[in-house]
Subunit: 574 residues, 2 copies
């Protein structure tokens, strides 16, 4: 037998590193340790198992060719030994061995290694509030919890559910309850918006509004103060500063933390963001590698360290570790930060930095919002897909892209292309000319991502002056706050009725293709907010009005296609 | 008024350049000339208009906000003058004017310019065969032809149709006839495969096989020798060297040529690939720009000039011309070459060079074929998506990617990301680590594109030895040709029956996870062709067999997922 490789952690990064290095050095003796009995499952599939889209938890543990990834599978198919229910207690770096204990029998053992891989993952953050440990409160930390939740659903025990935390896991779990099971579901998020620091507020609002239409009540800016129990000691209420939500089940999805205690105890370099590794994914002990949710990684945009707990990264890192264990000098240089999520009939995706995040990182950041079609506007399945592009004004580098569209792969097609370019430090011009494949059933001749870059170009070049959606909607909600504005609505006369009635003299309809003839009718002493469906025509009209000396206008970026999706209080409900 | 800008050509590049530059320099006097009366239509939408997906030709000329892009629209909305039915006869570069003639009245005029833009597009290549000019023979060169074709379909005059040419336009037209109209449709392609030099033969075969299942008969390696007329002089037969196809309508889609005569006559530099331009899209006369199908462009992979007639490129080029007309020094540096196409319930897409093309360009090219899932294999809508990645062995640079999947945006999501990376000269490693957004409804933890790169890595590193699909299928079709091989089928015992029965002793079933226990049963004196569903397990087993001294094996890349889609003669029909 060749060298001994021990891997702590049996999900994602661990098995990937194990199997890849075993293929590269077939005589290596590779052992995976995991304290659980269920290993190598698709954790990101848990919401779809709970929802019923996936029938059986075993499907999350199966390969595409229907073998269950259990101990026998790894032994027989991969030549890798797995010791389940085996907890790593300590790493003895001098003796190069891992002290372990069998979780059930308590039997202890010492497992020698030539190379060790730490893939201990992350653990859910449990809010330090009363009742966090009650029966009926679940974190989404492993498959057992998911099985227990689904059992309660299937037994008809859950009429109401509360999810604490508005990140992807929380939102996916909320959908899984509300969609197929018809559970009355509420979600609370401590921050003022869902997806904080992942997408900007408008995109968060679009998702929130859509989920509300599907019966998920989302309360932002409200943290959970306590979870209360019924007479049987089961969680029955979640208390926030503003309300008390009755519930039969609570999911606590308040984020995760890297699981680093073992590494710390072994004297390895560990930061609050995870185990410190170099770009070969070696820890401060060159014999020990680490990968997956337990490590800190580098943000390729800011160059700073950050924590990116994602199953897809864990797998890629696992492969890099496998290479290095076999002497192939592969590197993992960092992460752009991409995500995509289903929300009922819609899809939200993002890559890179959001505007708020980019500003916090010190960029001279601005953003374009546009609302192009995801495919040719004459093609029957077309849908509007709002896109935000975040860029640095000085360097014109694109820092991030967000998109919200129909539940298909249209958002993915733009986010993946954007992530690829952003990782190569691309500029607005690169995005403007980016070659997106075109045919009417899939895209537009000027792709949505090109169009977003064109708007960014107009803004970065100082050609487009915009009013922020936030400012405009605040003014519209409280007309005394900013009495000066008048809306110039360029849309078809059929579309403007509600607004003219509501806003009276503050709402001037003047259809787009008549402005050149009729601009003299416009007031010269007011601030014109130019509004159309997507923002594009508004920009054209702003340029024209500037050219005839009417320089008092601002474009409402993204137009009605964006604000109609925000779920504003004063918006017509139809 | 400011400077006079005249643009010859009213579709795609022309209107884009006109409107963009008018916005940048609002006092410019911008005039578009076009010999047609229908302008600025979405030409790529013609097959969907003919099929009925799009009801009315006017929809192809409308904006997303339902205004028809006619002369009045350009004048009123854009401030751009359009002169339709106006043919440009000559360019007088000394006097800086364009001599024109009104197509109906014959009236002549001379239109002065400060800057001229030539956007004359391309013209369909009409095969020099007898009958090419018969009634009932159509090229897809403008909207009038499409309207005439649809009229014949709607009148019930078309029971059978023949399409000459197996590029995207020909295939899309074939689908449009066969799908909603139920026309008995045949397509002939002179080259041995459809999409010659665009995708490689296996991907062409997958599309061909799928279209055949939907009733389109495709004959490759057969050119049209003649089109014959009935007693009324209407096309009724297409003759090839192998057959005579009866038909009511013929579409000639045998490629297009750049329309350069006007530029040539004006003494501008013109190559067989189009009008020669620099990266500012200036012709050899710095006052004259050119954009769209009529120019030659640069292939960003080979660095060589080529002809890329695509509506999406034309629009991007139009914007660059608009910038330059306004003094903004934008550049258009070239094209990777991306396409995507709907084929009934499937989708084919490609970017960069195909393997055959890469070899012809002198690269030390090889390719990986894999057959990953487009989304988590446990997610209900998942489908297999074969991917080919073409790379240069020496530099490990990725030269191209092809994919064939279900009719959704999954292929697009990979092609767009690949095009973005290829334009930045990315390597296999870049693709292996490329950050593709992950959630089970959209993708797999190791995305299909990453997986394709991992296979490419295995091949480029010399770790995987493959048999080509062509060789293997030839051997299987004619067992006397290569008597030495034996298939080692790793799939589930339920799947192997047909093959064991058909190939008898040449087909050894041995399920994947039993090989480590039972490899001693394998013959040592034969060439083992290892076969699984996607090629992945075959590679693993090859590595294992090598490690135990059985080095006589080859992996069948892409496995059953690929060969089952090729429409092979000897394949079980089920």
């Amino acid at each position: 037998m060749g060298k001994k490789i021990v891997i702590i952690g049996g999900v994602a990064a661990g098995p990937k590193a194990a199997c890849h290095c075993k293929r590269l050095i077939p005589d290596a003796e590779v052992t995976i340790l995991d304290q659980d009995n269920l290993i190598s499952y698709g954790g990101c599939g848990i919401p779809y198992f709970v929802s019923g889209d996936v029938n059986d938890e075993e499907e999350l543990r199966k390969t595409s060719y229907h073998l269950t990834r259990d101990e026998g599978y790894f032994q027989n198919a991969k030549g890798v030994t797995v010791r389940t229910r085996t907890r790593a207690l300590a790493i003895d770096r001098q003796k190069k061995c891992v002290e372990v204990e069998h979780v059930e029998t308590g039997a202890k053992d010492s497992i020698p290694y030539d190379n060790l891989v730490i893939a201990t993952g992350s653990q859910p953050f449990v809010l330090p509030i009363p009742g966090a440990d009650l029966d009926g409160v679940y974190t989404i930390s492993d498959l057992h919890k998911a099985i227990a939740i689904k059992k309660r659903l299937a037994m008809g025990e859950v009429g109401k559910a509360v999810v604490i935390g508005g990140g992807a896991i929380g939102l996916e779990m909320a959908e899984s309850f509300a969609d197929l099971w018809g559970v009355e579901t509420s979600l609370i998020e401590f921050m003022p918006q869902i997806f904080p620091r992942i997408v900007d507020s408008y995109f968060a609002a679009m998702v929130q509004n859509h989920m509300k239409k599907h019966g998920v009540n989302i309360y932002t800016g409200e943290g959970a103060l306590a979870i209360e129990a019924d007479a049987n000691g089961k969680a029955c209420k979640v208390v926030t500063p503003k309300r008390t939500l009755e519930t039969d089940l609570v999911v606590m999805a308040a984020g995760v933390r890297p699981r680093t205690q073992l590494a710390k105890d072994a004297g390895l370099l560990v930061s609050p963001l995870g185990i410190v590794v170099n770009n070969r994914l070696q820890t401060s002990d060159p014999n020990i590698y680490a990968a997956g949710d337990c490590i800190e990684t580098t943000n390729l945009i800011t160059g700073k360290k950050f924590f990116a707990p994602m199953g897809s990264l864990a797998n890629r890192e696992g492969r890099v570790v496998g290479d290095n264990l076999a002497g192939i000098p592969s590197t993992f240089n960092g992460v752009v930060g991409s995500f995509v999520m289903k929300a009922f009939e819609c899809c939200i995706g993002a890559t890179g930095l959001c505007l708020e995040g980019a500003k916090a990182e010190g960029f001279d950041a601005a953003a374009s919002i546009s609302a192009p079609s995801d495919r040719a506007h004459f093609f029957p399945t077309q849908a509007v897909m709002p896109i935000q592009m975040v860029f640095d004004r000085k360097s014109r580098r694109v820092l991030g892209v967000q998109a919200f569209g129909a539940m298909n792969d249209a958002v993915l097609a733009r986010i993946n292309a954007a992530a690829a370019l952003i990782s190569k430090k691309a500029t607005i011009e690169d995005f403007s000319l980016l070659e997106m494949a075109y045919a009417p059933p899939f895209s537009t001749a000027i792709d949505a991502l090109n169009a977003a870059a064109n708007v960014a170009d107009n803004i970065a070049s100082g050609r487009q002056r915009s009013v922020s959606i936030k400012d405009f909607t605040n003014w519209a909600a409280d007309m005394s706050s900013q009495p000066d504005w008048v809306a110039l609505d360029l849309r078809h006369p059929n579309d403007v009725g509600y607004f003219v009635e509501k806003f009276e003299k503050k709402w001037l309809p003047l259809v787009y293709n008549e402005v050149r003839q009729r601009y003299s009718e416009l007031p010269t002493d007011r601030t014109l907010i130019i509004i159309c469906d997507a923002g594009t025509r508004s920009y054209e009209i702003q340029v024209f009005l500037d050219s005839v000396g009417l320089k008092n206008s601002f474009v409402l970026e993204g137009g009605f296609n964006v604000i109609s999706r925000l779920g504003l209080e004063w918006w017509p409900k139809k």
